[in-house]
Amino acid sequence: MRSYIIKRLLYSVIIAWGILTITFILLRVGPTSPVDRYILNIAAKGQDVESVRQAIEARYGLDKPIIEQYLLYMGNLLQGKWGWSFSASQPVMELIGSHWIYSFQLILLATIFAIILGVGLGILSAVNQNTKIDYATSIFSFIGISIPGFWLGLMLILVFAVYLGVFKTFYDTSYPIWSLENLRQLIMPVLALGTGELAGYVRYTRSAMLDNLRKEFVTTARAKGLSERTVIGKHVLRNAVLPLVTIIMFDLGSIVFGGAYLTEIVFGIPGLGQVSFNAIFANDYAVVIAVTLIGTFMVLFINLATDLIYTYLDPRIRYD
């Protein structure tokens, strides 16, 4: 088991290195330059655009051959230096360090919200299959799956912030992270981000539960005289959890630059989604590479964690 984990971590580093290299080359090969967004300013000041560009690029080493830039970047990275953000005028790590918490809190709360409610409703739906409860839950979950998160976010803002005035229309960074006010203002973003996933989890839980409810070990469990609660909790749910873990972990791996990014834009939350959005449009190379690497490591780490959770959940799975 230990050798398996070490092997997987080694693979992860190699994959991350590959993605880093591809990202690096693609950014440098393109016809863009970090100077682009300042060209109008430069021209307005009556300076010669081309000479200023050369001066700036020389300052950041962008005039050197790609291979030299790459070796320099890798050398710095191995020393823990992630480079300088042109657009934010601060080290990349400082930039990310001051913004990641906004994404993290949003994703964490939305995921917890989606899992608890989604799995709960899914169980309720399966246990009451083909009843009004089941139909109502199904209709709700189909609507939830169909609505895009950003649209739901806009509608929530329209109704609860603009018409009813219950919330502010934007995310207010002046509240400390660990404050009730902050938790309260996260309600709408969490709903916008979590509802789609919640609705999906309802469907997955329901079908996984039904698959197992039909199994004969469930009938024999009932025949033993176990209470229905024990039968559902101990035999059905425990076996239904496995496919759920797959889908939940998959969502977690893709959420940062998927749903969370759009939610951050809609609510004006200064998280990693916004940081990468700005960095891409500013051709801020170092930042783009850093957030890409963070995303890569999240996916790789979550995949490894998923596989390890499997061995705990399913005695049939062993990696040796």
């Binding site: 025949a223 033993k224 005695p315 049939r316």
Partner: protein, 323 residues
């Protein structure tokens, strides 16, 4: 060898399923999976229940334990009216009647060590100490011919035959009086079938159990049963002692079934081929349900439903050949 005390009495038992179709469910009709079955199982006997797939024999087994709630009729177990029991008393009753299933793959919880699957029944039974439970599980595993040390293992580490033994041990944990065995050996190789059947017979003799042995395999039933009931489209069409039934079947359906098994065909008789499939259970044929496939069909058969009556002492059949 059999004292004639009925352990289980079933009278006119019915289990209907309402069938619906469409987005907005509209009723299509009813499937009469079990339609007016009356049976006794005597203390210490093995009752074989045979019939084609879909004839309702598995449903009958589950309905006895109310794992499928019967639509009508009466079930009496050791004098207790099963259908009037409340939830709690039903759970107590379920200890006395246990069920063993066909599919050794799905009949054990894949995420539970087999010792726990067996021991779980003991917790319900009031054996709460882990030490005592462990000893009982070990004894049960040895009783079914498995090493007690295997209790920590998971179902996937066992072969099909071993898993079926575990299923039997789990049923025995409740110290039942009756075991409903629903095709318990159908999924096993023939050599393993014999081992499991022998095990079941040994346990029956040692513990004085009764079995209701559901099977589509006449050879197996001939080996294990004392009496045999033949089921067709939710109804019992013939019931007799094993020797009597195999020597002198009365119902044409039983005749056809017997003729289909090479080793059981009577003195040079040719094989009787049934024409067509079983009719849709949604629209069972009028009169005798078997008349559409019967090789001895008469004018009365599509018109009137034959009564289930004692043709020879101890030998019952539902057929117009025996008015």
């Amino acid at each position: 060898m059999i004292n004639k005390v009925p352990l289980l009495q079933i009278k006119n038992l019915k289990k209907y399923y309402r069938v619906t179709a469409g987005l907005i469910p509209r009723p299509l009709g009813e499937i009469k999976a079990v339609d007016g079955v009356s049976l006794d199982i005597i203390e210490g006997e093995v009752l074989g229940l045979v019939g084609e797939s879909g004839c309702g024999k598995s449903t009958l087994g589950k309905a006895i334990l109310r794992l499928e709630e019967p639509t009508g009729g009466q079930i009496s177990f050791q004098g207790t009216d099963v259908l009037s029991l409340n939830k709690r008393d039903l759970r107590t009753l379920r200890g006395k009647i246990q069920i063993v299933f066909q599919d050794p793959d799905s009949s054990l919880d894949p995420r539970m060590p087999v010792g726990d699957s067996i021991g779980e029944a003991l917790i319900v039974h009031g054996v709460s100490g882990a030490g005592e439970r462990g000893r009982r599980v070990a004894r049960l595993m040895e009783k079914v011919g498995l090493e007690a040390g295997f209790a920590e293992r998971y179902p996937h580490e066992f072969s099909g035959g071993q898993r079926q033994r575990i299923g039997i041990a789990r049923a025995l944990a409740m110290d039942p009086r009756l075991i409903i065995a629903d095709e318990p050996v159908s999924a096993l190789d023939v050599s393993v079938q014999a081992q499991v059947l022998n095990l079941m017979m040994d346990i029956k003799d040692a513990d004085g159990l009764s079995y209701m042995f559901v099977s589509h395999d006449l050879a197996v039933v001939k080996y294990i049963a004392d009496r045999v009931a033949v089921m067709y489209m939710g109804q019992i069409v013939e019931l007799a002692d094993k020797e009597e039934l195999f020597r002198d079947p009365l119902h044409p359906y039983t005749e056809a079934l017997l003729s289909a098994v090479a080793g059981l065909r009577r003195g040079g008789g040719s094989r009787i081929l049934l024409s067509g499939d079983m009719p849709s259970p949604l629209k069972p044929p009028a009169g005798c349900r078997f008349h559409t496939r019967c090789h001895r069909v008469m004018e009365i058969c599509p018109v009137a439903e034959p009564a289930f009556r004692e043709v020879v002492p101890g030998h019952y059949a539902a057929c117009h050949l025996y008015p």
